[in-house]
Symmetry: C2
Subunit: 146 residues, 2 copies
């Protein structure tokens, strides 16, 4: 999805386009991994030194509501993370040691096996799927030290 297409989605909903909002959106679009609100804030600050953190939060929430952005929570009581999803989205395996995100090319909700039964009694809006464990490197380090 292009930046202009994303803008179209916002305009269709009667949302205005401010410099701050467009920078938040662009930041997420250019990122290759899910970002925390703080990380987005830091990036946006480079362009607009006067943004406030709450503006970033408000925009992240708006973009998520509109469906342009996907929010994921680490199960480990960690902070929320946001990523641009456009038309397709991703899931991640997250290392409990180094916190690296490894992208999965698989989505449980696209599995017929699961959806067939569920869709009859439930209309799916969104979903969360995350795997936690140890990446190859950290697994190696752990087995070495044990």
């Amino acid at each position: 999805m292009t930046f202009d297409e994303a803008l179209g989605v916002l305009k269709k909903r009667g949302q205005k386009m401010t410099p701050q909002r467009s920078t938040v959106l662009r930041t997420l679009m250019e990122s290759s991994r899910p970002m925390t609100a703080q990380e987005v804030y830091r990036e946006v600050t480079k362009v607009h030194p006067h943004v406030s953190l709450d503006t970033v939060y408000r925009n992240l929430t708006l973009l998520t509501d509109v469906g342009l952005v996907h929010q994921s929570n680490l199960q480990n009581r960690d902070v929320a993370r946001f990523e641009f999803q456009g038309d397709e989205h991703r899931h991640y395996a997250i290392c409990l040691n180094c916190h690296k995100s490894i992208r999965l090319d698989w989505c449980p909700v696209e599995t017929k096996l699961m959806t067939q039964a569920l869709r009859k009694q439930f209309s799916i809006v969104k979903h969360a799927f995350e795997v936690y464990g140890y990446c190859a490197e950290c697994r190696f380090l752990r087995s070495a030290s044990a």
Copy 2:
């Protein structure tokens, strides 16, 4: 899993069994749905009026670490929820309107399609999977009012 078997898991790790801890464990074992820390606290209070909320939190964390309890976060920036899982665990579809949890009889990580590729580069410790949307009743109400 019986209560005594669960105790065995704790003893094996050198954990002590206190009245508070055993009540937290029993509460989760007897619950048919995931509970928030506050809900557990309220239940435990009925038996031990003097428990503190942080003791409940500490025990929930311990039981989760040990693997007896499964923690789920609602993606909607809601509070964490805990449920006894014993040997098998569950996933839920959560209604965005009435917040009802509908149990799924399906787990993405038990799908060979997904695990084959992942296990080569990652050792899975736990995972989170939740579906959000509208249950049959709330879907009906929404379409009626629209």
